[in-house]
Amino acid sequence: MTVPSDRGFSRRSFLKGSAVAGIATTGLTAAAHAVPAAPESFGPGRHEIALLVNGKEQKVTVETRTTLLDALRDGLDLTGCKKVCDRGSCGGCTVLMNGEPVTGCLVLAMDAVGQSLTTVESLTEGDTPHALVQNFVKCDAMQCGFCTPGMVMSSLACLQKRGKPTEEQMRTDLSGNLCRCGTYGRVMEAIQRTAAGGTGGGK
């Protein structure tokens, strides 16, 4: 018997289809160059795009099927966001897109062109780390730390949206983030501490 060597669910073929569709609808308005009359088609080769990451425009070469997560990690060496499940079910790759949390593995890099992206690295670019990051350390809201950058970004989005979130709201906003080491309680403490200190949201 010959068994085809497909490793299972093939995202390659799936992404090929959706990438074309995505660009035809939303991608073009965001593209840096002028909008052509007919939908321009990209791929399958590599293209240089510009991403607006942490306030800076940065060039990165991607394929149409490259995810935002892979573009940030492999193209820009922003390795704070992690590939854990690669299916949008764990939150390990959470970044903010126009202030909203998204899982980088479910966004195509080309669809992120023209959007304002915030990664965890931005929170320690200044002289002192963001209060939320400091409170993660204070509350020991981490063990192995692999989920932590994603947790920090979901927590940041929670604080920015809610100001002083209730426990119920924190649970809602963190419900997309998995932690195998079991740090959830301390993550919520870190959010509350930050909210109480009044520094949530800003830098």
Partner: protein, 747 residues
């Protein structure tokens, strides 16, 4: 400064609130040149206080570089082609087309033609290319042919499996045991039941894998591992066996995204990345994807367990018969452990059999064999106690023979409000039923002398006043670096902020694997010894400088000196010169004298709310008390206990590997359908670290990874039994099982 030969120490612990001191004297003989032991009377300044995780900022800022984050210019990415069949032989393998695909740097076969395929996911070949997309394209061009054989992935129907009744009770007759049978006959109340657990995967968030780089014959590898030195040796040997002329091998694992027992071996993925990098002559990264992580890197085996036992008129266990059947994969062991401290005076027997199936074998997972065995045994005990009309806590107090835990039961019951919780009656016909349960925990490991290997630690004091403490062992998230910094700070009498702790590079002194709760007790006293030696050297320098006899110079409270001639730490260090003080501490053997206690004790209490309409169980609150010898890094120790309880909730309520019998493939090998506990399932959790001076070495610490993960599922199982009045004897306690149990009650 030399160590006295005989030292009298105080071991044990001061009273838990409302209870009595348990302190004893011991006379111990420290090894020549070792630091004098810390004990229950030592006044610590740093140990046992809340100290921030020393690498916390690196982790929370996303700047910590895990293996998965390591990258080099020109580095290739790689993947493994996995067998889609559960059993058979590899008949043909055609790699040429794949190697000609664009962007492909190397293709290697991982299985010989004619070799056995043993489970879905067995490694066949590996491919490295410019991006994972290129690699995926190439892997699709590999043609693998197999001779298929019949497989079985369900251990309950394995050849050696016991006979089960329609309701899942083991029906096989017990092997003869005359004395035990007699004791059962004499018992006032007896009980017999079958319990079952399902396969749990480790689900570390960082998958297994590595980055390999060859420089000529020298191999440098970054590996997501919990055994730096073990994997270093394993890979050196495996590469040699493949005909590679291997020079030096250096392994790095500075940050590791979880392991839980699955990362002791470098595995086929570790070897594959070395072979690919060798063939491609550039660095290669190979990290498994989530499906591979669930299906090829081990698991906590499922098991069937059966107990029969009896109590006398006083409620003491007089007979205890236990047998278990654990699933092993195509190889390995599905062993189950049960508590032995309730049955000290009983006629007893335990037996175990492994059942092989054509699936990924088990690997150690956080307290191997324990959470499953404790779930069966502790639920059985509650059923037996209920039959005998005894409260579960009183039943434990009557039968438990470990004095530390007897204190913990009493303290924990008061903290949790056990009596009130058990007295509260659910209203008749209420939709939501609440209940409370408890269970014990135990683990035994005081580190020995690092399992017979004299592990070392480097301590350096620099002239700028900074200090390094270094181990080549790994910190898999438990806070090893923080513990090392705390012990060093305590010994030197300086703040933790002056200290840099480093782990994970095999260029530093050897340390053990993070396994079986051995790491901390294996290296803590070596960390102290290194700091102790470095301190002695500094004291010598200062004594010479201020011109007083060595014996009069002390180093404490951030000062070094004698009487009024005191130098501040920073000034004392200026005397060191450009070359740092550089001392190598070692792990001396444990003292010959009996420690206060050779195993760690714990107890946990759980409260649940069961929705009788949907069958959904919610764990509303838990309290845990845990001993790990002397508590060194309090905040991180608490994190670890709370985390173990959350993992236990997950094991009790959610986790189950579901196999497709026909294809032999795991059906829920992702995080969408394999559920681990999320923040929505989080109970109110509280824990108490029970610090005990064990007196077995100069520090007296015991390990903490395993013990708190033993009790949780058992306590939850008991709470569900209390809530609904019938036991759910099969983990995970999912709604269908709860509804069936409720229906059986009505019927």
């Amino acid at each position: 400064m030399s160590t006295p030969r005989d030292v009298e120490i105080t071991v044990g612990y001061p009273a838990l609130p409302g209870l009595e001191d348990r302190l004893e004297k011991r006379t111990v003989k420290p090894a020549e040149g070792d630091a004098a032991p810390w004990d229950a009377t030592t006044k610590f300044t740093t140990i046992g206080t809340d100290v921030d995780r020393v690498d916390g900022l690196q982790k929370a800022s996303g700047r910590a570089k895990y293996t998965y984050d390591i990258t080099f210019p020109g580095m290739l990415q790689a993947m493994i082609l996995r067998a889609p069949i559960a059993k058979g032989k590899l008949k043909g393998l055609e790699l040429d087309e794949a190697s000609r695909m664009p962007g492909i740097g190397a293709v290697v076969a991982l299985k010989d033609l004619g070799a056995k395929v043993r489970f879905v996911g067995d490694a066949i070949a590996a491919v490295a290319g410019t991006t994972l997309n290129h690699v995926r394209d190439a892997i699709e061009k590999i043609r693998a042919e197999y001779d298929l054989e019949e497989h079985n992935v369900d251990y309950v129907v394995a050849t050696d499996a016991p006979l089960l009744s329609a309701t899942g009770q083991i029906e096989e007759p017990w092997a003869e045991a005359a004395e035990l049978e007699a004791a059962l006959k004499e018992a006032k109340v007896t009980h017999e039941a079958t319990y079952r657990t399902e396969v749990q995967t480790h689900s570390s968030l960082e998958t297994h894998g590595g980055v390999a780089r060859w420089n000529g014959n020298d191999l440098e590898i970054w590996l997501s591992t919990q055994a730096t030195f073990g994997c270093r040796g394993e890979l050196a040997q495996a590469c040699k066996a493949k005909g590679i002329d291997v020079g030096t091998v250096t392994l790095h694992a500075e940050f590791v995204g979880g392991g839980f027992g699955s990362k002791f071996s470098a595995g086929i993925e570790g070897l594959a990345v070395c072979l690919l990098a060798h063939a491609a002559k550039v660095p290669v990264k190979l990290m498994l994807d989530r499906f591979e992580e669930h299906t090829t890197t081990g698991n906590r085996p499922g098991c069937l367990m059966q107990a029969r036992a009896g109590v006398d008129a006083d409620g003491r266990i007089v007979a205890w018969d236990w047998r278990s059947f654990g699933h092993a994969g195509f190889t390995g062991s599905g062993g189950v452990s049960v508590p032995n401290y309730y049955t000290a005076d009983a006629k007893k027997r335990t037996a175990h059999k492994d059942l092989n199936i054509d699936a990924d074998p088990p690997r150690p997972m956080r307290a191997p064999g324990h959470p499953q065995g404790w779930f069966g045994a502790e639920l059985f005990l509650d059923e037996l106690a209920t039959k005998a009309g005894i409260d579960p806590l009183q039943f434990r107090l009557k039968n438990d023979r470990e004095a530390i835990r007897l204190d913990q039961w009493r303290f924990g019951a008061a903290k949790f409000g056990w009596d009130a919780a058990r007295a509260r009656k659910n209203e008749a016909g209420a939709r939501f039923l609440t209940g409370s349960g408890l269970a014990s925990a135990r683990w035994g490991n005081l580190g020995g002398a690092g399992r017979g290997t004299p592990h070392g630690i480097t301590c350096r004091i620099h002239q700028d006043g900074t200090v390094e403490t270094r181990s080549g062992a790994q910190d898999i998230g438990v806070g090893t670096k923080t513990m090392m910094a705390i012990v060093t700070a305590e010994e030197l009498g300086i703040p933790v902020a002056r200290i840099t702790a480093m782990t994970g590079h095999t260029t530093d002194p050897s340390g053990p694997a993070s396994g079986g709760s051995t790491l901390t007790p294996s290296i803590a006293s070596a960390v102290r010894h290194a700091a102790f030696l470095a301190k002695q050297t500094l004291v010598e320098i200062v004594a010479k400088h201020i011109g007083v006899p060595l014996s009069e110079v002390h180093c404490a409270g951030g000062k070094v000196g004698s009487g009024t001639a005191q130098l501040r730490w920073a000034d004392a260090c200026k005397l060191i010169g450009p070359n740092p003080i550089d001392e190598r501490g070692k792990r001396h053997p444990n003292y010959a004298e009996k420690p206060f206690h050779a195993s760690q004790c714990g107890a946990q209490f759980a409260e649940v709310k069961v929705d009788t309409w949907t069958g959904l169980v919610e764990v509303t609150r838990m309290f845990g008390i845990q001993d790990c010898g002397l508590v060194l890094a309090k905040k991180q120790a608490e994190s670890q206990v709370l985390g173990a309880m959350i993992q236990g909730v997950s094991y009790a309520l959610h986790e189950q590997r579901i196999m497709d019998k026909r294809s032999g493939r795991m059906l829920n090998g992702d995080f969408l359908r394999y559920k681990i506990t999320g923040v929505r399932d989080l109970p109110r959790l509280e824990c108490h670290m029970h610090s005990i001076a064990n007196g077995h070495d100069s520090v007296g610490a015991a390990g903490l990874g395993e013990p708190p993960s033993v009790a949780t599922a058992a306590a939850i199982g008991n709470a569900v039994f209390h809530a609904i009045g019938v036991p759910v004897r099969h983990l995970p306690i999912t709604p269908d099982k709860v509804l069936a149990a409720l229906a059986s009650k009505k019927g």
